[in-house]
Symmetry: D2
Subunit: 368 residues, 4 copies
Amino acid sequence: MKNYTHTTIPVRTLASGQILNIDVFRFEGDPSVPSAYIQSGMHGAELQGTAVIDFLIRFFTDHPPKGTVTLVPAANPYALNNKTGEYTQGRFDPTYGDNWNRLYWDALNNEDGIDIENLVKTIRSDAQNSIQKILRHELTRKLEQQLQKPLTEMGYGRKLALTLQRMAVEADSVLDLHCASHSVRHVYAPEYARQTVRYLNIPYVLFIPNLFAGAMDEAVFCPWWTLSQKLSVPCPVEAYTIELGNQEAYSAKDARGDAMGIINYLVHRGTCDPIKPKGRDSAESLFACRLQDYKTIYSPTGGLCEFSTVTGGIVPAQEPLAVILTKAGNEKISVALPYDCIPIVQYSSAALHQGVELLKVFSKWEVM
Amino acid sequence: MKNYTHTTIPVRTLASGQILNIDVFRFEGDPSVPSAYIQSGMHGAELQGTAVIDFLIRFFTDHPPKGTVTLVPAANPYALNNKTGEYTQGRFDPTYGDNWNRLYWDALNNEDGIDIENLVKTIRSDAQNSIQKILRHELTRKLEQQLQKPLTEMGYGRKLALTLQRMAVEADSVLDLHCASHSVRHVYAPEYARQTVRYLNIPYVLFIPNLFAGAMDEAVFCPWWTLSQKLSVPCPVEAYTIELGNQEAYSAKDARGDAMGIINYLVHRGTCDPIKPKGRDSAESLFACRLQDYKTIYSPTGGLCEFSTVTGGIVPAQEPLAVILTKAGNEKISVALPYDCIPIVQYSSAALHQGVELLKVFSKWEVM
Amino acid sequence: MKNYTHTTIPVRTLASGQILNIDVFRFEGDPSVPSAYIQSGMHGAELQGTAVIDFLIRFFTDHPPKGTVTLVPAANPYALNNKTGEYTQGRFDPTYGDNWNRLYWDALNNEDGIDIENLVKTIRSDAQNSIQKILRHELTRKLEQQLQKPLTEMGYGRKLALTLQRMAVEADSVLDLHCASHSVRHVYAPEYARQTVRYLNIPYVLFIPNLFAGAMDEAVFCPWWTLSQKLSVPCPVEAYTIELGNQEAYSAKDARGDAMGIINYLVHRGTCDPIKPKGRDSAESLFACRLQDYKTIYSPTGGLCEFSTVTGGIVPAQEPLAVILTKAGNEKISVALPYDCIPIVQYSSAALHQGVELLKVFSKWEVM
Amino acid sequence: MKNYTHTTIPVRTLASGQILNIDVFRFEGDPSVPSAYIQSGMHGAELQGTAVIDFLIRFFTDHPPKGTVTLVPAANPYALNNKTGEYTQGRFDPTYGDNWNRLYWDALNNEDGIDIENLVKTIRSDAQNSIQKILRHELTRKLEQQLQKPLTEMGYGRKLALTLQRMAVEADSVLDLHCASHSVRHVYAPEYARQTVRYLNIPYVLFIPNLFAGAMDEAVFCPWWTLSQKLSVPCPVEAYTIELGNQEAYSAKDARGDAMGIINYLVHRGTCDPIKPKGRDSAESLFACRLQDYKTIYSPTGGLCEFSTVTGGIVPAQEPLAVILTKAGNEKISVALPYDCIPIVQYSSAALHQGVELLKVFSKWEVM
Ligand SMILES: [Zn+2]
Ligand SMILES: [Zn+2]
Ligand SMILES: [Zn+2]
Ligand SMILES: [Zn+2]
């Protein structure tokens, strides 16, 4: 018997008059147990997360989670369907250029956001618990208000973001599954999650500060982090952006491994029962980099590029990361950095114009 | 005899190894007279501004300006060359989605910007004039520093913006010529330029506050505006974004009229001698709207759209602005607003998805 | 009461798993009366034809046709939904480049087509009427066979074309509604339809020979034309490609006029009763050009282009058709032809690369 | 000392007014020795061929060829520069959809082509040698005529093709280097080149008939093949399309191996001296497939696809080639064929719409 509900939410009427939907799978659990929300594919060509959620649907059917788990396997069908040649141009709105993952609602904005300072003051006498209830209630209420605005006041990307955020706001753990260009698996974690991030079993971690720049993870954790700091208590809600390797790639075999890390994390969070045989408890060693030390290396020229190193390995200062041939017959141009680095993401194609994002690297890191 | 210099600046080596350049035309004038910088086409398919600059090159050849005038007729050749079908996708970086006009350097940023407060304090004793000299010197010096960074630290759009800003920073008047979708001519002006904006002879004005959001005009005027406010003096530098009608359109005849407004403004600014026969001194009446009252109306559904009104006219509340047919045979959906408005920009195509920018309208305005 | 059926046919499962459909409206009529099939939008951004069919649905609801009329208002939803910037790239498959209107099945191909020569020989004794019945039966049967091939043997564009052709093959009149770039209304007619084409009330006519190049009109008329020639009888089936002005444009008001021409034609064909008050019987004078005299004029250089003439007017030899500015400050380049012409289609944007289709012109024509 | 000339040929003035060029490297050799022409990148994102030519330029500098060798490393800079997201949409004209490799001039067309039948008749008495001289002379002369047409009569793609064909027509061996989607290296060879194709050291061969479909190889060999058949002599001119693996990929290391196969072939043809130490003489065993047995397998549905097999291996009938997940939670759909096959090319992305080219396979082959 199916132990989940499968609903669809219409998200966009197309020029042809047809309506694109997102699918929502919900495993209803004990409301007193921490819940989770997992989505994938906000940028379209991020397929591995969909594979992971496909695995999780089957896994949770056999091993029902204790807490409620909500799964959105393809968060942005419009972006997924948008092809040029055989590739998917999914990362941004093809009409306006907006990055789909920069359109979430800022819960702490000055205009129609929540005044945490004030919230804390007003209810200083309340138990920490009830303040948290009030915060969630307020977040939910305000997102509902946003969603009730007339359609003429919301672009597609914004409305989609609000729709997803409305579901995510109910959860205690939020995992936003993405893929990057050619890349090694890595995760963006809030700085306060230094211990729990280990359980995801992803060895490359970017720690991000309490700063809203429009993304889902920030949209979820910023208000909770701010409240927790004011109350000097641990932050009860966690949100991560997980980058599951190469865009345009999809592997059911790898999805199993990716999903196992997520399940391991959910066990640790109390959303799932431990599984047997128990897997590796957590990543043995993490390479952790602060967001400010995550550097984009732009291509210094145009031409054909060959990477000299693989993602995930440590490259000493001055060692070539890539070699670029501007034209056949010309001398090749070597790209090296004055500092040691770990390449995390590489440009997807060997043909590149000057000034594109050749590499993203950890320029400093700690092993933890 | 040619009374100007024509230089080219390489801006991007392409994948093919060839280099795209921008052309710079410079009419050297009396350094004690206010200077001007005019560019066009930062978004690629903004052709009318190029036509205007083509006119100005010929006009200034016959009627040399008193002050130095620098002209960049096609600021972003990469964006101009980027075709899909017969149309130009020029508005944003086709690889990353960045709006080309959001990448300028913020002169007042906290990291490597100018501390105006401090500047004023330090040199309180100085004449206003010398403070202004120091500000311009500092802006120039810091832009030079930015441009001297290694190429691996600058994306194409950023480097292009810095290159243009470096030229604009020397001028007393900066005009950034753009086009929008189907639109009536309009101009973005800083609020302090209520009087001078009239001289441009463009009847629709958007007044913008002292706030940096990445655009050329803001990049130019924000530091000067801030300094002037601190010194309680009029702002000596002006910058405008001028929208010269429809993207993809180009008319030499209209360019003459557009250029005459610009020349009229430059006469008023002291950069050019009055021309004879003297044209209309300034726009007789302006429709002026504050940026916060400039509303984007999103398409509430997908389908085929027919606009019921033309840009530039006043539309009473509840009157249909557009009618959308989701599918042949369906009832049509009317789009109206609960308030009077003036439509300024309309979506370029009659086929649209839900949630695109159907219209941009003045929701409140004054006639001045 | 609705006097038509409205069905949907699934045509493509997208990457997101959702299915795009086409809508089919069918007004069932007397089977002994000539029938008609009208479709629009095979190239996506061809919106005026959809407006026309929307009008026809409402018109036929009030004035039921005598013969069966089948209407497909948006034949290619995939192409219609494919946006880059605000414009629609609809003309060809964004993955493979195939022109959507070159993928129909050639009824006379040597491999699995119909051998008309043989058909005529075998049944020489039959009445002309029964041969025609056999041809239609054969065409239908073979199209069914094509459609029953496994999906792994058919690309999307091919399957879509077969699906549409299967419906069109049953009709006596087939109208394929398109739009071109900036253009005057014009029609492609088979040479044998010199008289009937007048009834469409479209003043610019291109007469095409009995040659299959992949388009719907040719797919429909080639076998009938060939049979009629062999039997020396008038061709009973007619097919036209009608170009209803500018792509990306949509006007309900113009749609009324366009539809009236089509209704007038259907009255003449016997599919509809005459309407009252009777409209103009047929176009008073037509400008008719043979396909071989329809010339594409390529842009001799890149730059910004301004057309000097409007579509539909006669332009004398040597008179400039367009003026191109390669760069601001350069001499402009005039484009003229050594012969008189009538421009029919113009490039959609004023920014163009060398070697694009600047114009399509009648280089010779007769007035009829 | 440089033993080659390096010239550039302007091929397209862009909308920005700048001109794109192609580079031509020419190693002048003994005119009595067979010559070769090698180009790469007609489809833009075909980078490995450019790497191969870069290698050949350096190799021939050290080991001058005996016969003349002409190298064009990036035949279509416009296609190479055309990016959407990080990928290159190079395969077809982004404005018109034309496949860049279908625009060559058909030397045997009825309108302005060469009448081989007649040529043979007229000069029956001549030595075979002089007939060949006459053919080459005629081909050259007619291509010159084509190129001298006004620019208004030639689209960019056509003019580019003619420019390249004009150079290729002088050579005795023509190698057109391409890449496909995800693919194993393979070569298109004319059926008469059964023996010589071995020397290229590429194990997968497609034998194509004497039929012009617009491609460079056909444009070169069709007239020679036809003449040779009429004279019953071996065909003196050879032309191949070589597919050097994945589009968007570039490896200097692999380029060495690819180039060695080409050099081996040129040695066999007499254009180059044998190299020492001598490499493998020729491929040990080839999998050869006739063009008619080369099948495109279309995706039967849309969704996320995982290939179950690798390119180049034999897959038994009924064994899954790919598995498609239409939506998370759905049953997966297996794609298998009723016959044994060798997959040669796979779709580049794991996200696909119904009806795209999932695979190209050898459906029958001989090992030779
Ligand atoms: Zn992403
Ligand atoms: Zn602009
Ligand atoms: Zn069309
Ligand atoms: Zn190719």
